[in-house]
Symmetry: C2
Subunit: 153 residues, 2 copies
DNA sequence: GTATCTGCAAACCCTTTGCAATAAG
DNA sequence: CTTATTGCAAAGGGTTTGCAGATAC
């Protein structure tokens, strides 16, 4: 158990998940997960690979690519957006969920959360008979700076 | 003007957009836009290319790839999701906006809309001083059939 | 007339995959 | 021991791009 509270750590969750599927817990998988959960930043495969190498650890990119679908299935990470030809992810276990407000022009991102989304989920659950796992709300707009630029041109 | 109401058609909007940028209205662009707006379905570049060819018309994929960023900038289409290595789009002009409820397992999609999202947008507009253009709410869950499957295994 | 656009094919680059060696359970 | 996993390098496949010819305006 995690010392901070009674929730199991992401590693425990994932070990359990692997065991259920007859899969194996390896040092490589541990390295990757620890790196993912060491920050709350978005990541893509390349940036993850680089930050692992910078710590002097070694894992192949193939192993990262092969691990990601498992982490998604275990509900530990999710895809957040696709940009510049790469998928970006973030971990969703152990810290508050948030949504993204993005500037269409300069790509800057603000994070926010709103209780109304949970209400919408409850309604959907009833209406469609789905088991809701999570959501992704992305609001797209123009930040104040980019509004000025497009007015002046 | 569109005969159905007083809103300009998507072609008029786009011509205007091109003119503002010193760009040209070509038969190829017209073909692509007409095809996109001929249905309310999601599309990807490949399916769009195929349906254009099936009508006996000819446009290169490169022209489609080059047109898409322009249509996004003109707020006529948007990215809806990335799947199987391809981006999927849908047009957002001229028909009711909707959100997506997706099954994580079988990938089926239900569409819905909810007024609360508009309220969230208003709050964000004030709070972050963004000009809000649109949103993308994707709720991920397990449909009733896939819930049964995962319980029985 | 001039700058933009088109089609083609090659280049790009992220991601996936086959394979032989390794290691978890 | 058996079967899953790893790293490597090659293959895959959607998207982008350079270029020469065509064409909006």
């Amino acid at each position: 158990m995690d010392a901070r509270n009674n929730k199991p750590s992401e590693l425990e969750i994932f070990r359990e998940f692997l065991k259920r599927q007859g899969m194996r817990y390896t040092p490589e998988r541990e390295t990757i997960i620890k790196e993912i959960f060491s920050t709350h930043e978005h990541f893509d495969v390349d940036s993850l690979y680089i930050s692992i190498r910078q710590k002097g650890l070694r894992v192949s990119k193939a192993s990262i690519y092969r691990l990601i679908p498992l982490l998604i299935k275990a509900n530990l990470i999710e895809e957040v957006f696709f940009e510049n030809g790469q998928m970006h992810y973030e971990h969703i276990y152990g810290h508050e969920h948030h949504c993204h407000l993005r500037c269409q022009e300069c790509k800057r991102i603000e994070e926010f959360s709103d209780k109304r989304v949970a209400q919408i989920e409850e309604d959907l659950q009833r209406r469609f008979n789905y088991k809701i796992l999570r959501h992704k709300l992305e609001v797209i707009g123009l930040c104040s700076e980019c509004q000025k630029k497009s007015n002046s041109s």
